[in-house]
Symmetry: C2
DNA sequence: ATTTTTCATTTGTCTTACAATTAAAAGTCT
DNA sequence: AGACTTTTAATTGTAAGACAAATGAAAAAT
C-alpha cells in the first residue's frame, strides 16, 4: 500500500484515472482548462513525461484536447457525436474481430437492434433519409460492383435506416452494431442471385418506411435477417469443407 | 505535405494511428509482440518518449498491454467483453452528460433497444437471469432505500433483462445505453408511489419473461417506458418552475 | 487608433540517465 | 544428472533538463 490511489498500475495510468474521474463526475467541466503539465507534475509529484503520458491516455479517449502556446494547455473536451461514433465503431469492430464471434450471434444482435428502429423510422423518416436509402439501393444494382463496395453500400443503407428513426442517441448506439458487421459481412461471398434478393428486400423496406407501414417493414427486415444468416452459414460451411 | 501520414497532428498521434490501423486490419494479430520502444523509435525516427506517448494512447483503448522485463514489451491485446463494456459505458455516459441530451430522447433510445431483447429473453432466459431480476425487485421493495441505490438496482434489473437474451454482442451493445442512463435517472425524484408502480411493472416483466410470453412483457415494458418519460417530464417541469 | 514587435507561457520533442522487473542463461550444490 | 540459486541482458517505467514551435497578450512603434 503505497498511497491511497495505488494499484499495480503505472503512475501515468493512475493519474489518468484520477483526472478521468474528475471529468466524469463533474469536478472538471467542459472547456475547463487543466493545470499546465508543469503544475500537474508538481501536484502529483511525478515528472513531466509521466504527466504527458497520462494526458495522452485521456486524449486517446477524446476526454481532453490540447493546445500549444501561451494560454494554451489541456482542456476538457465536449465529446461530440462524431468522436463518440468513432470510438464506438473502433471498439465494436475490434471486439468482434478478436473474439471469433459467431457470425450468427452478431447478426442476431444487429437485426434485433435495427428492428427497434423501424417503428420510429416509419414515423419520422424525412425525404433525405429516403433519398439516401434509394441512392444506396441504386448503387447496389450497378453491375461490376466489388464485394467491398457492395458491403459498404449495404452498411450505408442500414445507417440511413437507423438515422431515419430521428433519435441521435439511438443512431450513436447502433453505429457500432452496424459498422462493425462490415468486416464480417465482407467474408461472405455474394452471388449475383443473392445480391438481387437482398436488393429486393432493401427496396421493400424503403417502400414500407416511405409509406409509414411498420408491419411490412418488420417482415422484410426479418426476412433479410434470415437470409443473411443463411448466407453466412453457407459460406462458413464451404470454408470448413475446404479444411 | 511532410510525409505520407502527416496531418497537423502530433507525432505520437500519428504513430498511434499507424499501429492502430495495423491492429484493426490484421497486420498485427492478438498476442503478437510489438517491437521494443527503442526499435519503434528508430523505425519512426522519433524519440522514445514520443513512442511511449503513442503506446499509452493505444493502452488507453485497451489495444495493447505492456509487460516489463526481458522478453517483455507491448503486446496486442485481445479486447475482452469486460474491457469493451467499460469503454462503451464511459463513452456513452460522457456523451449523454456533456451534450445536454433531452432525457426523453435518451429514454426512447434505451427502451427501444430493450424492446429488441424481449423476444429473445423470453426464449432463452435461464434460472440465473430470473433470480437476478427477482433479487433486484426485492431490493427495490426495501424501505429506506436511497435514491442512488434505487437507481443502481434499476440498472441491475435491466441489465439482467438484457443478459437474459443470451446474446453477448447484444449485451455489449446495450451496456452503454442502460448504464449511461443512470446519471440521468438519478436526477429524477422518485416518490414512494412512483417506486411502487415501477416495481409492479418490473414484476410484470419478470413474470412474463418467466412464462415466455413476449406480448405482455412488451406491453409492460412500453408502460414502463411511458411512465419513466412522464416522471422525467414532471421533474423537468418542476425544475424549470423554480427558475 | 492601428499595426507591428516583443515576450512570456505552454505544449511538443529529444537526449541521457537510472531504477525496476523479468525470464533466460549460467553457475553451483547435492 | 538434476534441482536450486545467482547472474545477466533486455525491456519498460520514471526522472531531469534542454530546446523548438506555437500562440496570445502586452508593449512598442507607426
Amino acid at each position: 500500500m503505497k498511497n491511497s490511489q495505488s494499484d499495480a498500475t503505472d503512475l501515468s495510468a493512475q493519474i489518468a484515472k484520477n483526472i478521468r474521474d474528475a471529468i466524469i463526475d463533474g469536478r472538471l467541466i467542459v472547456d475547463e482548462r487543466l493545470p499546465s503539465e508543469a503544475e500537474l507534475s508538481e501536484q502529483f509529484s511525478v515528472s513531466r513525461p509521466t504527466v504527458r503520458e497520462a494526458l495522452k491516455r485521456l486524449a486517446a479517449q477524446s476526454l481532453i484536447r490540447t493546445q500549444r502556446g501561451a494560454f494554451g494547455g489541456a482542456f476538457v473536451n465536449r465529446l461530440s457525436y462524431q468522436e463518440a461514433y468513432g470510438q464506438q465503431i473502433t471498439t465494436s469492430t475490434l471486439l468482434l474481430s478478436m473474439n471469433d464471434i459467431n457470425i450468427d450471434v452478431a447478426c442476431e444482435a444487429r437485426f434485433a437492434m435495427e428492428r427497434a428502429c423501424i417503428a420510429l423510422a416509419c414515423e419520422r423518416r424525412t425525404a433525405d433519409h429516403l433519398a439516401t436509402m434509394r441512392a444506396e439501393i441504386h448503387r447496389q444494382t450497378q453491375p461490376g460492383l466489388s464485394d467491398e463496395s457492395w458491403c459498404a453500400s449495404d452498411v450505408a443503407f442500414h445507417r440511413a435506416l437507423v438515422d431515419a428513426a430521428g433519435n441521435p442517441v439511438l443512431s450513436y448506439q447502433l453505429s457500432g452494431a452496424v459498422e462493425a458487421m462490415q468486416p464480417l459481412m465482407n467474408m461472405i461471398t455474394y452471388t449475383a442471385r443473392s445480391r438481387e434478393k437482398i436488393i429486393d428486400l432493401h427496396a421493400e423496406i424503403a417502400d414500407s418506411v416511405e409509406q409509414k407501414q411498420a408491419t411490412p417493414a418488420l417482415e422484410s427486415l426479418d426476412e433479410l435477417s434470415k437470409y443473411t444468416k443463411s448466407l453466412a452459414e453457407t459460406t462458413l460451411a464451404k470454408r470448413q469443407q475446404k479444411k
